[in-house]
């Protein structure tokens, strides 16, 4: 176990260095959440007057969690891409014949996700605060929001690593988030659950992203008593455990 922490530490240093390499690549992952927030907040503001919409909540505040979610979500694609690059350069083989804990190889990448999530999340948070969005659970709630989003992003990034290990196809891994992005909209991201049409409501109920968004939303708009908070954490932690295990089991696919 001590080997795990040792390896995790040194592999984290490597992966954190790699975040800043494609500095320009960070721009789209900030641009998209901010763009959607600004456009939706402006164009759909009248939605807040629809009967059944939460009382006293502006549409802007209602979708603020989505901007945070998306910014962090986009940080989760890099580990898979870095891993495919390691595999295609042949460097990955070197890691495989060192006395390294394999879970530490995954966790080294998760550190990168966490650091990037904090970095991108903070930029979006500052912007949201600047336009007047307020987080009702205060500073502890802000930490809880980041905690929830980071656990989710780390779990989700294991999907990209799993694809990297199993397909070793850079293009596929790169376009993974494009495939997944639409599913972000089959949730309560645009409207509260009870205002969704029935079929859509069923889909949203089975979409784990819904629970993450509802958890963040509860922390922004409500108080600590809202059960959506612990439900969000439960889903995020559950996904994390399952997806890490799946990624770990994919290592053997690299060997022919």
């Amino acid at each position: 176990m001590s080997t795990f922490f040792h390896d995790w530490y040194y592999l984290s240093i490597r992966s954190i260095k790699q975040i800043w390499r494609p500095l320009l690549a960070l721009i789209p992952s900030l641009f998209i959440p901010i763009f959607f927030f600004v456009v939706n907040a402006a164009s759909l503001s009248a939605f807040a007057d629809v009967p059944g919409f939460p009382e006293g909540v502006s549409y802007r505040d209602f979708i603020a969690p989505i901007a945070l979610f998306t910014a962090v979500f986009f940080s989760a694609g890099n580990p898979g891409i870095e891993m495919v690059l390691d595999i295609s350069s042949g460097y990955f083989k070197k890691l495989m014949i060192m006395p390294i804990n394999r879970l530490a190889i995954i966790f080294g990448r998760l550190t990168e996700v966490a650091v990037q999530a904090v970095f991108q999340g903070l930029i979006v948070l500052v912007l949201l605060l600047a336009v007047g969005v307020r987080i009702r659970t205060g500073i502890p709630g802000t930490f809880a929001i980041f905690g929830l989003l980071i656990v989710f992003a780390m779990g989700w990034s294991c999907v990209s690593m799993t694809f990297a290990l199993r397909t070793q196809n850079a293009r596929l891994v790169q376009s993974l988030f494009v495939i997944v992005f639409p599913f972000l909209y089959i949730t309560t991201s645009q409207a509260p659950m009870h205002l969704l049409p029935p079929t859509f409501r069923v889909l949203a109920t089975y979409n784990p992203i819904t629970y993450i968004i509802e958890g963040v939303r509860a922390l922004v708009l409500n108080d600590w008593g809202d059960p959506a908070i612990w439900k969000g954490y439960a889903v995020a932690i559950g996904m994390f455990v399952v997806l890490v295990a799946v990624a770990l089991s994919s290592f053997k696919k690299v060997m022919k």
Binding site: R14, I100, M255, K256
Partner: protein, 262 residues
């Protein structure tokens, strides 16, 4: 008598494509020995060496390294071995020094020893001046030399080399040969694959010649010469594999890269 540090029994590999790359090879390497695996392109040398370190999953057969089994003690085995592969795979986002430092750490070496090893190895492969450059700026020969240094960072007990001097100029080749001999004298077991007759003659105490997935003959150089009534290794090679490495004739029946068979 030295004990066997590598023991291989009836090792086989059939790739998912159906290619039978290795068809049951059995051999031993003694502790401290400089052992050579010689064979033409496609003989199965890389497949064999990769199975020894579990980079290629074997279809069947037994492997024991330093008394340990890959199935149960992989990490222990990896701590003791270094491997410079046929395809040099470097972290292009790091400098040579950063890579050496990371690897030293991952082998759990104390920092002072990492630093002294880095100095020694960079000098050995004549890369001190470029150690702080990103590895993607290196030439092919520099990459290969650096890769060798990297595989030596933790002073492994067993060194696996898959065509370590491929693409090196004669100066660099002689330089590397000299160092490999010294490392071997100091006690390191070396397992080397090559298709350079000259390299095998210059370095290896004992050789196995592989052809089409099988070991066709095995022994020390004098033993091989005697056994096959040959003047030199080239002739042994010709007699056992039916092919030469001297000329580049295209095999009309198939893979143009497989040298001609007589």
């Amino acid at each position: 008598m030295a004990s066997n540090i590598i023991q291989v029994r009836d090792l086989r590999k059939t790739y998912p494509t159906g290619t039978e790359a290795v068809k049951g090879v059995t051999f031993d390497v003694k502790e401290g020995e400089f052992f050579g695996f010689l064979g033409p392109n496609g003989a199965g040398k890389t497949t064999t060496i990769n199975m020894l370190v579990d980079l290629v999953k074997r279809t069947s057969g037994e492997i024991e390294i330093d008394g340990l089994k890959l199935e149960t003690d992989a990490r222990e085995i990896y701590q003791r071995l270094g491997f410079a592969m046929q395809e040099v795979g470097l972290d292009e986002t790091a400098t040579a020094r950063e890579m050496l430092q990371l690897h030293g750490r991952l082998y759990h070496m104390p920092p002072e020893r990492i630093e002294s090893q880095i100095q020694k190895l960079l000098k050995l492969v004549e890369l001190e001046k470029v150690a702080d450059r990103y590895t993607h700026t290196y030439s092919g020969g520099m990459r290969r030399r650096f890769d060798l240094a990297l595989s030596l960072i933790h002073e492994p007990k067993i060194l696996f080399l898959d065509e370590p001097t491929q693409g090196l100029d004669p100066h660099a080749r002689k330089l590397i040969w000299g160092h490999l001999r010294e490392l071997n004298k100091a006690g390191m077991t070396v397992f080397l694959t090559t298709h350079f007759m000259e390299e095998a003659e210059a370095l290896c105490e004992r050789l196995a010649i592989m052809d089409q997935g099988q070991i066709v003959t095995e022994g020390t150089v004098p033993e091989l010469l005697q056994k096959h009534g040959a003047k030199n290794l080239e002739e042994v090679f010709l007699k056992t594999t039916g092919s030469t490495l001297g000329e580049d004739t295209v095999d009309p029946s198939g893979d143009p890269f497989i040298r001609s068979r007589h």
